[in-house]
Amino acid sequence: MIHLLYNEWIKASHKISTWLMLALYIILTPVIYFIFQNFTVNIQGDDLKVAEAFLFNIESVWEITTFFSSYLVWLFVFIIVSITADDLRHNIWKQHVIEGLNRNQLITSKIVLILILAFFGSLITGIVACITLLDSGVVFVMADLKVILDISARYFLYLTAIMILSLLVVILIKSSGLTIIMLLGWFWIAEPIIRWIDKSEFTQYLFANSFNDLITNPISKLMELPDFQLASEHAIIATVVWIGVILGLTFLKVNKSDL
């Protein structure tokens, strides 16, 4: 597996877009958080910065950073989609199979790459949250570790789920641009419309909503607005089931199709 991962590294590291996307993630994660903190809200006639208006604790800091970072998942999606589309466009998968790989290894190496990117994304978000905590002087207690691990694990699962979905879609469509347009279209337009039309519990478990509900919306929480999200455990179970279905379809597609 290490040598297959090394091949993924060769492919990813020689694409300018990979470095650009990673750099954007590293830069934008703290920048968005910084902008949010300095956003002014009007409370009882006083204009206050968000950081001053609300009592921040470790949980809220972690939830805010993961919430805003979650919008940057598309940078990782771009990396996966771009590398896979290159493989398909230039018949690299076909060549790898001819040279002696089996089809499951092609998918497995991509899944490992996705896990590494998801870990990297979670780590960067965690580092930003830690820096923010140090800056704000919030006191850390051991009980907070469980909260941090829970939020980070859900964020890791969120990144993994969306990237695995993007892998399946790019294998089906074979075009990076179209894949990203379709995914964005589904996540931001199609599924919200479906859920707006059909407000049944079933539509809550569509994949985009299941994935999104892994991330707590800190704004609703801070403003004490009604929570329309799935309970954390339900979102986790739904996402894990979706990941299983998507992976199953991916392996099926690659193992049953001509290259």
């Binding site: 040598h3 090394y6 060769i10 492919k11 020689h14 690299i92 060549q95 001819i98 790989l101 049953k256």
Partner: protein
């Protein structure tokens, strides 16, 4: 002699098109086996199936008598009509990926690049290479793992004359070193020059299988002329051994069995008072075998 590849009744259907129809072949160790056929005859489909990139609709194949396909493919080097490499990577990085898949140490990359004359351009991106250079890089990838078997699909397509000679010489050199080679081509002279055995495909069906250099066909052509062509024609029409009699370029041309005795014919014609002034036996070659098998005309 060890059986390297055994193909049993392989068929491939693409929607309404039957690309391969019940093809069976056996390739033994040390053979240079040519798969000959016109464009669209199913050669590339057959190679794609035995290299596992395309699934057969029915039929089976096995490499080295085993069913462990992926491991078997690591012993096979391939040179395809269009080399598959990533355009944004240089030669070294593209070969590193091949070496990783084949389980070959990276220190063999320099040697392979030197042998194929690509060492000086090793750091240039693949997208900047000419077609000839791309083929040389594919060749370097083949040499990297010192494979037991080579599968070549139209390897000289698009190459300049020097490139064609280089590839041809390489095939001959490799076959001399005992490698088994499977070559798909629509170029008769290419196959005839390098192959020991040939199978002919037409519209996905195997229509002939021969050993090159031996008689491919049990028939020969006889070209004959005489001072009085009318009398000669009448005599030949009555001759039971003369098949497909026709007049071509002022001579009679007919098909006969390979053991047809020309001296005896000449003697009989003399006895009939027919003075023969032109008599030629046309031995069958791969071209005639190919045309006969595919229904083409000379």
């Amino acid at each position: 002699m060890q059986t390297i590849l055994e193909i049993n009744n392989i068929s491939k259907q693409y929607r309404s098109v039957l690309a391969l129809n019940q093809v069976s072949l056996t390739v033994q160790q040390g053979m240079v086996f040519g798969v000959l056929g016109p464009n669209g005859s199913g050669k590339t489909t057959l190679l794609s199936i035995i290299l596992s990139s395309v699934f057969p609709t029915s039929g089976t194949y096995s490499w080295f008598g085993s069913h462990s396909e992926a491991e078997a493919r690591k012993k096979i080097g391939t040179l395809l009509e269009k080399p598959n490499f990533l355009p944004n990577l240089n030669a070294v990085n593209n070969l590193k990926m091949v070496a990783n898949v084949k389980g070959v140490p990276f220190d063999k990359i320099s040697d392979a690049l030197k042998k194929t004359g690509m060492y000086d351009r090793r750091l240039s991106k693949f997208s900047t290479y000419s077609l000839g250079m791309k083929q040389r890089l594919a060749l370097a990838a083949v040499l990297l793992s010192d494979p037991e078997v080579l599968v070549l699909d139209e390897p000289t397509n698009g190459l300049d004359p020097q490139g064609i000679v280089d590839i041809r010489n390489l095939i001959i050199d490799l076959s001399k070193s005992g490698k088994t080679i499977l070559l798909a081509s629509h170029m008769l002279d290419e196959v005839e020059k390098v192959c020991t055995h040939v199978a002919i495909l037409k519209s996905g069906k195997l229509v002939g299988s021969y050993e090159v250099g031996t008689t491919h066909d049990s028939s020969i052509k006889i070209e004959i002329g005489a001072s009085d062509m009318t009398v000669l024609g009448s005599y030949l029409k009555e001759l039971p051994e003369a098949k497909d009699l026709k007049k071509v370029n002022g001579y009679y041309l007919f098909t006969a069995h390979t053991d047809f005795d020309l001296a005896s014919l000449n003697k009989k014609l003399l006895e009939q008072g027919i003075a023969v002034n032109h008599l030629r036996k046309i031995m069958p070659n791969l071209e005639s075998a190919f045309l006969s098998a595919t229904g083409g005309t000379q």
